[in-house]
């Protein structure tokens, strides 16, 4: 397991899509190193023959009939939108128009 440094914190924050200030990077680097040292104790446990547990539920696939049921109205689904354009959530351009496209 590797040391966590400022570069790792910046890289991971970027993966998580979170803008951090320099002061936050500094503080989180120190704090997360301490936390990772503590969780690193898990290396002591021999888990060679142990399967992972993703959920403690004794359930496998849960299925139901695919029936049409009432859901939210368009207005209910849209009413919390920070910006909208008619019946659409308005966001910045995702894919630019290309010439001849």
């Amino acid at each position: 397991m590797s040391e966590i440094d400022r570069g790792v914190v910046r890289y991971v924050a970027d993966l998580a899509r979170i803008a951090l200030t320099d002061a936050e990077v500094e503080r989180f680097t120190k704090q997360l190193s301490v936390v990772l040292d503590a969780v690193g104790k898990l290396r002591e446990v021999d888990t060679e023959a142990i399967p992972p547990t993703a959920s403690v539920l004794p359930l496998d696939n849960v299925t139901r009939e695919d029936e049409v049921r009432p859901g939210l109205t368009l207005e209910e689904a849209m009413r919390n939108a920070p910006a909208r354009d008619g019946d659409l959530f308005r966001v910045q351009t995702v894919i630019e128009d290309r010439p001849g496209g």
């Binding site: 991971v12 936050e24 989180f28 997360l32 969780v39 446990v45 888990t47 992972p52 547990t53």
Partner: protein, 505 residues
């Protein structure tokens, strides 16, 4: 200010004898919540509450009403409530008003319970002190310079300060049981799969459960009775036959085998906490239970498992807060920059720390070393509990290693803060039910006894907790700042009105 009755049972009796109406109780709760000096409430939804109270009175007048009909309650603000703002304690949900209610809220609505409002919490339930709320810390009524515990701190305080008769919280690593312990009330996390999470803001999905706070074990069981059961909207709820959770409340512990895991009495536990819990164990022994020391050898690794799995799941769950469909949006130079700025501005420090930790544990090259490793040790911890429950009916432990600590004492030391939950988070890792009940004071502050039972064996857990409660007065203790009524005081001498004793109702 009028005081509310202490328990749901007392309130239900008042309602049925017409000495108080549901509207009377709701008005008293609204007044107390509105005057709450602890910052326990984020929203007091007065109109909504009075509307529900009037409907409850109509049902009561018709003579057939559920036990919870007309009972004022408080809802942790991470549980979605139709048309009532839901913040999760975060700026990133700024202005969010859910278009539907969580299943747990619908079930309490159906019973006729009266929701007074939404309570303060650590942002996205990430915390053990309620200091991580974007809307300010919550104070402990036992000593306002101290924390109430977290993350369901507001819900715990709303019950401890007599503002409502019960409250809902969520518990991912101890967020119901630890604040219950620190504020001197009962608080319980059900078996994983017992209660629907539909409509609850997701934190760590393999660990989260919803559960109640109340002033008695019977009240906790009564609320569970309304909450439990499979929900077609939540595929992680178990299909179990209906049962009466209160059937064993009065049975006592004679002949029961109760285990005391030696790993839960370790360095770090305050002497006053240990002696209160040891005394509680002796009391159950006097009542005829046989006490056995047991061992859960991997307890020491639970914190490491928890602080990988929980932030990993949270980092995936919180990816949805992108400023597109609801909540805060901070515009950037392009869409990805907008995500980053929105999340940078909308999340508080603890949420950011856990997003980074969780993303790191899931990132390419580290996933097997951290996340999969933690899931394997989870298997070991779960198996150790299962082995112990072949020998004993329930386990007795402290809920928290310390009493309530000072506001600000641990905010800059995440690891010290995380250690508050060492006795509660193994229960979430295994998915077992656990309840914290008051077992006395240390340095004038409440101590909690945790009772843990086997899978779906809440009835046994309630049986042990109720037996202890009947034999002591610890659950009757009230914070020194609580109105003017104290245990044993003559209510007639109180200048405050008390329902049923003042003659007003």
């Amino acid at each position: 200010m009028a005081e509310l009755p202490r328990t749901i049972g007392e309130a239900a009796a008042l309602l049925r004898s017409r000495r108080a109406s549901a509207v009377d109780l709701a008005k008293a709760a609204i007044e107390r919540a509105g005057a709450d000096p602890y910052n326990a409430w984020l929203t007091v939804s007065e109109d909504h509450a009075l509307r529900q109270a009037r409907a409850a009175d109509e049902r009561l007048a018709r003579g057939y009403a559920a036990l919870l009909c007309g009972i004022p309650w408080a809802c942790k603000d991470i549980i979605g409530t139709k048309d009532v703002e839901t913040t999760a304690g975060s700026r990133i949900l700024d202005g969010y008003v859910p278009p539907y209610s969580a299943t747990v809220v619908e079930r309490l609505d159906r019973e006729g319970a009266v929701m007074i409002g939404k309570t303060n919490l650590d942002e996205f339930a990430m915390g053990s002190s309620n200091e991580n709320s974007a809307f300010g810390a919550v104070c402990n009524p036992w000593d306002p310079s101290r924390v109430p515990g977290g993350s369901s701190g507001g819900s715990a305080v709303s019950v401890a300060a007599g503002e409502v008769l019960f409250a809902l919280g969520t518990d991912t690593g101890g967020s119901i049981r630890q604040p219950a312990a620190l504020t001197g009330v009962a608080g319980m996390k059900p078996t994983y799969g017992r209660v629907s999470r539909y409509g609850v803001v997701a934190f760590a999905s393999s660990l989260d459960q919803v559960g109640p706070f109340a002033n008695s074990v019977a009240d906790v069981a009564a609320v569970c009775q309304a909450l439990f059961g499979q929900d077609p909207a939540d595929a992680t709820t178990m299909p179990l036959p209906a049962e009466d959770l209160r059937r064993e409340l009065g049975k006592g512990v004679k002949g029961m085998r109760l285990g005391v895991p030696k790993e839960y009495f370790v360095t770090g536990i305050e002497p006053g906490v240990e002696s209160a819990v040891r005394e509680a164990i002796r009391e159950l022994e006097r009542q005829g239970a046989s006490i056995e020391e047991v061992s859960l050898p991997s307890t020491d690794h639970a914190l490491g498992v928890y602080y990988i799995i929980q932030p990993a799941e949270a980092s995936a769950n919180l990816a949805r807060y992108d400023g597109v469909r609801y909540g805060l949006r901070v515009a950037g130079t392009d869409l990805v920059d907008t995500y980053k700025r929105t999340r940078g501005a909308g999340f508080g420090a603890e949420v950011k720390r856990r997003m980074i930790l969780g993303t790191y544990a899931l990132s390419s090259g580290y996933r097997d070393a951290y996340y999969v490793k933690a899931q394997k040790v989870r298997t070991v911890i779960k198996a150790e509990f299962e082995r112990v429950f072949e020998r004993v009916d329930a386990l007795l432990t402290p809920t928290s290693p310390t009493v309530a600590f000072g506001i600000g004492a641990k905010v800059d030391d995440p690891l010290a803060m995380y250690l508050n939950d060492v006795f509660t988070l193994p229960v979430n890792i295994a998915g077992l039910p656990g309840i914290s009940i008051p077992c006395g004071l240390s340095e004038g502050l409440p101590v909690g006894l945790q009772v843990i039972a086997g899978y779906n064996d809440e009835a046994t857990m309630f049986r042990v907790a109720a037996a202890y409660e009947r034999s002591t007065d610890h659950h009757l203790l009230r914070p020194p700042s609580f109105g003017t009524r104290s245990v044993g005081a003559d209510p007639k001498r109180s200048p405050n009105a008390t329902f049923g004793t003042s003659g007003t109702y």
